[in-house]
């Protein structure tokens, strides 16, 4: 029998539907891989019994001749930012350690309804703040990838969805949920050689997802290929009246609409993304991407996104500002950690609880956010950043007059080593330079594998589309996937 953990979403779904194997066999196989990969630290909580229970239900439905859901029989990993009823949900923070939600996030509920099962809760950067998964209270996630220099330096799986990227790349799950605030789906996908899409802001409900920055947070799928992403996004997305920013639109049939034929499409290449001193391998991969899209029939045009260089600083005002307020609820009163020093009053309890409960990066961002919103600084920082954000969105609007899609690298480099950037927060922030503009504009954006660098590490190509044009983004991703021939995998060492 084939190793079921080599299969992706589409293959598992059809295998289960056709009776080639049972959903329980699939769940069992992935449970075994999860159990054997503790050294990667991809999971905070493992829920093998949940995966089996969901699989049994799917097998029973199939036996009864019932119609099976879009994700029937597919066990997945759930980023631990999604509230899961009765299963510890922590956002990788000490402050939520032991928190058992009495509710289920809309996106995870949609997935269970579609027949998916849960293998466990995936590690991440604490409150999704980070680009290397080194800010988790539950320890670093280690990428399954190693450099081809014969050494065994531990590499970052990207962040914040680093548990998701690692688990998929190491075949602990065929797919996983991610969330993307400033690149947190795309950058980790690029770092481990998988695909991931952040849909248009408002496609996936934010209800039940621990908030980082509300105006930016968006859930999306991470999986081995574009088709798997399309299938899973269909299951995740949809209007939710419980989220005021949810888009009241039907969910398109993205999987059925997949086509790598890009004739008639124009793809823009933003000149501002060609930074001075751009990594040679990155530049080469980008050129390959251009060639593949041309080969798929697209016309390639040069475009300008003049405010690109301001996206990252604007992001580092807006996101921390929102976060400083969103994270005020973690105060030790209603749930989570409470640190009550002897004789402490209420306000002392807050300060002690939050100092003990939040990690260094979270504290840093709350402090930045508090500062930029404080009296006398609000206009200079926050209002200015929101105006710049409007200009960045306008840059994209102008670009759409010339093209339908934009192609750029996902990240400025391949995965870096754990610990390499932790001493300098700014150098870490700069890793999201290509990912953040689409986040600020709320646009759909995807990363697909574009090749390997000199060190043998995966690199990602990013496609950004117009609002609501996930189909265009997926199709361009498919066109690249069909031509890139990316089959590299991390050699198993764990």
């Amino acid at each position: 029998m084939t190793d079921l953990t080599k299969l992706g979403v589409a293959a598992i779904r059809s295998g289960v539907a056709n009776g080639d194997f049972t959903a329980v066999e699939v769940a069992t196989a992935f449970n075994a891989n999860v159990a054997a990969a503790k050294v990667l630290n991809a999971f905070i909580v493992e829920t093998p019994e949940k995966a089996i229970d969901a699989a049994k239900a799917v097998d029973a439905d199939r036996a009864a001749g019932k119609l099976l859901g879009k994700m029937a029989g597919v066990p997945i990993g759930m980023k631990d930012l999604f509230a899961t009823e009765g299963v510890q949900t922590t956002a990788a923070s000490h402050i939520l350690e032991g928190f058992l939600p009495t509710y289920e996030s809309t996106v995870s509920a949609n997935l269970w309804k579609a027949g998916a099962g849960m293998l466990g809760k995936l590690n991440l950067d604490q409150f999704a703040m980070g680009s290397s998964n080194e800010t988790s209270y539950f320890g670093n996630v280690i990428s399954p990838w190693r450099r081809n220099d014969g050494g065994n330096a531990a590499l970052a799986p990207g962040g914040s969805s680093g548990g998701s990227s690692t688990a998929i790349a190491a075949r602990l799950c065929p797919a996983a949920t991610g969330t993307d605030t400033g690149g947190s789906i795309r950058q980790p996908a690029a770092f481990v050689g998988i695909s991931g899409i952040k849909p248009t802001y408002g496609r996936c409900s934010r209800w039940g997802i621990v908030a980082f920055a509300s105006s930016l947070d968006q859930a999306g799928p991470m999986a081995r290929d574009v088709r798997d992403c399309a299938i899973m996004l269909e299951a995740m997305a949809g209007f939710d009246p419980k989220d005021s920013t949810s888009l009241d639109l039907p969910v398109p049939e993205w999987e059925a609409g997949l086509s790598g034929d890009l004739r008639g499409k124009k793809v823009g290449i933003p000149r501002e993304y060609r930074l001075d001193g751009i990594d040679e391998d990155i530049a080469k991969m980008w050129d390959n991407g251009i060639a593949w899209l041309k080969d798929a029939g697209a016309e390639v045009v040069d475009i300008s996104l003049p405010h690109t260089k301001y996206a990252l600083p604007a992001y580092y005002i807006i996101a921390p500002a929102e976060a400083s307020s969103n994270l005020a609820r973690y105060d030790g009163v209603r749930y989570g950690l409470r640190d009550l020093p002897d004789g402490a009053g209420l306000q002392d309890m807050y300060a002690a609880t939050r100092a003990a409960g939040f990690g260094a990066e979270v504290r840093r961002r709350i402090m930045i956010g508090t500062y930029v919103l404080s009296a006398g600084f609000y206009d200079a920082y926050y209002t200015q950043a929101q105006k710049v954000r409007a200009l960045i969105a306008r840059d994209f609007e102008n670009a759409w007059a010339q093209c339908d899609l934009i192609l750029a690298p996902t990240a400025p480099s391949a995965a870096f080593g754990l610990g390499e950037k932790t001493s300098d927060p700014l150098s870490m922030y700069l890793n999201d330079v290509f990912a953040v503009p689409a986040s600020l504009a709320g646009l759909p954006a995807m990363s697909v594998p574009g090749g390997l660098d000199k060190q043998g590490l995966p690199l990602g190509l990013q496609i950004v589309g117009k609002a609501l044009d996930e189909q265009g983004v997926l199709n361009a991703g498919l066109a690249i996937e069909e031509r890139a021939g990316f089959t590299a995998e991390a050699e198993k060492w764990w």
Partner: protein
């Protein structure tokens, strides 16, 4: 308003007080502003709380249309600017009654802008002058939860039932100059809210409470530093808080001190205001637009419905009662001062009662009776329909006014026993119908005249005031059941013959 200028007598001369009020009024709605939990008062602790109200991770606000609608209607009732485009902002501070760590409120773009209300110092005095008090804005925001401090020696208890209930914050201009003016303002505001139906105005249950901004200055001089006395929950306390706070500020300044801009608390038992130290470091609220919500964009149809559903408001009603119904200025003022009175009165008219008869009876007989019972109009044992039945018996001559008083008394007595009898039934049962039988009345008149020869002589000698005496005697002899009109007519005839 009579220009009795309110002044505080200080050692260095007279001081003027400048007052602005921020009134928090709970919007009448079934559910909370941003969650589907009940907004009802009371309930077991933490039983009207959704996961949104408890600020669980990942919970999101969705606004309640009715709360927006009521605030818009309130704005329209004070002729205020309605902002079709408004926005919710977060006001960030930490307190145990505030689960999110921020209150969703409106700072930069409130739903309702500039307006004004006409305030009369003494509503019941038609000569009392009226002044316009400016309203700066009305915005919509969340209420906080409740802390209980007396249940445990070292702990306070948190109940989130109130958390997230919709409030309108109605911010006045600093246009008031005396405690009485501030009291009249709150009263008028409450009356308007009740008319509109946007707030029940129940200050005991905290549905309406005022933050009182007070400063003092030499008359006409530069504005002084103000303090904000929080959560004053009755009109009397508002007036008292202003009085003691203004006095405190005058004494402080005259003793060489300076007034600090701060939040204070009014203690009605000690008749003093105190600094609220717990709120001291909360000055930097870091307001910013709530990213969980989009701007509020109201369409014309929504606004039209708000306007169309507004009732006639007290000032317009008062004018109509005077001009169209022909009521006295006093009656019109008293009937319209509170929505309940006007609505009760109009219900009565709806049952075919004459306005003058109805207003006089309501203000003297019914109010008198309720006063004795210690009840409000809401709790009246007699409904407008039942009152109309009684009043119609007077109007059609079935009973006299004095018999009506007796019938009303019996109605109240039977009501108190739990089974009220109707006016017609009482008249029937007790045989109280008045007689118009001229023969019977003439016979009694003849007896009265014969029994009072002295008075008769005086009357015929020109002392015509004695006519009333003969009426009284006749009615008494007939136990009040004679038709007074017929008695008058027959008496005149008999006396002049």
């Amino acid at each position: 308003m009579t220009e009795s200028t309110y002044r505080i007598q200080g050692a260095t001369g007279e001081w003027e007080v400048v007052i602005g009020l921020e009134v928090h009024a709970q919007v009448t709605s079934n559910a909370k502003l941003f969650s589907g939990a009940s907004a009802a008062y009371g309930g077991e602790p933490n039983s009207h709380v959704s996961l949104v109200d408890a600020a669980m991770p990942g919970m999101l606000p969705v606004p309640n249309r009715e709360c927006i609608r009521q605030a818009v209607r309130t704005g329209m009732a004070i002729n205020a600017q309605i902002n079709k485009w408004s926005r919710f902002d977060r006001k960030n501070y930490f307190y145990a009654d505030l689960p999110q760590g921020y209150q969703i409120s409106q700072l930069y773009h409130p739903l309702v802008g500039e307006g004004a209300i006409e305030v009369t110092l003494d509503e019941k005095d038609p000569d009392s002058l009226t002044r316009s008090i400016g309203i700066e804005r009305i915005h919509v925001e969340q209420d906080a939860g409740k802390l209980m401090h007396d249940q445990h020696p070292t702990m306070s208890y948190v109940d989130l039932n109130r958390s997230g209930v919709a409030l309108m914050e109605i911010v006045s201009r600093p246009d008031m100059r005396s405690p009485a003016e501030a009291g009249a303002y709150v009263k008028k505001l409450r009356s308007i809210l009740r008319y509109v139906g946007s707030c029940d105005g129940n200050m005991e249950e905290g549905s309406m409470r005022a933050d009182v901004n007070v400063s003092v200055r030499k008359p006409g001089g530069e504005l002084g530093t103000r303090t904000e006395t929080k959560n004053v929950n009755s009109i009397r306390f508002v007036m008292q808080a202003i009085e003691v706070e203004a006095r405190r500020q005058v004494d402080l300044i005259e003793d060489g001190g300076t007034v600090v801009q701060e939040t204070r608390l009014f203690d009605p038992n000690k008749m003093e205001t105190r600094s609220m130290r717990s709120k001291e470091d909360a000055h930097d609220y870091r307001y910013f637009p709530d990213p969980d919500l989009l701007p509020l964009d109201l369409d014309d149809a929504f606004l039209e419905e708000c306007r169309a559903s507004l009732p006639e408001l007290p000032d317009a009603k008062r004018a109509r009662y005077e001009n169209e119904l022909g009521l006295t200025a006093y009656n019109a003022a008293v009937l319209t001062a509170e929505a309940e009175t006007a609505f009760w009165f109009e219900d009565l008219l709806g049952h075919g009662v004459d306005p003058k008869q109805g207003s006089n009876w309501l203000l003297s007989e019914l109010f008198g009776a309720l006063n004795k019972l210690g009840k409000s109009l809401d709790e009246s044992p007699v409904s407008p329909a039942q009152a109309a039945e009684l009043l119609k018996l007077i109007a059609d001559g079935t009973i006299s006014g004095s018999i009506a008083k007796l019938v009303f008394e019996i109605m109240l007595e039977t009501a108190a026993q739990g089974n009220m009898k109707g006016a017609a039934a009482i008249v029937e049962e007790k045989g109280l119908k008045q007689t118009s039988d001229t023969g019977a009345i003439e016979a009694v008149i003849a007896e009265i005249l014969a029994a009072n020869p002295g008075q008769l002589e005086q009357y015929r000698g020109g002392k015509e005031q004695l006519f009333g005496f003969f009426v009284g005697q006749t009615m008494k002899a007939m136990q009040g059941k004679a038709n007074p009109g017929v008695v008058n007519e027959l008496l005149k005839k008999a006396l002049s013959s």
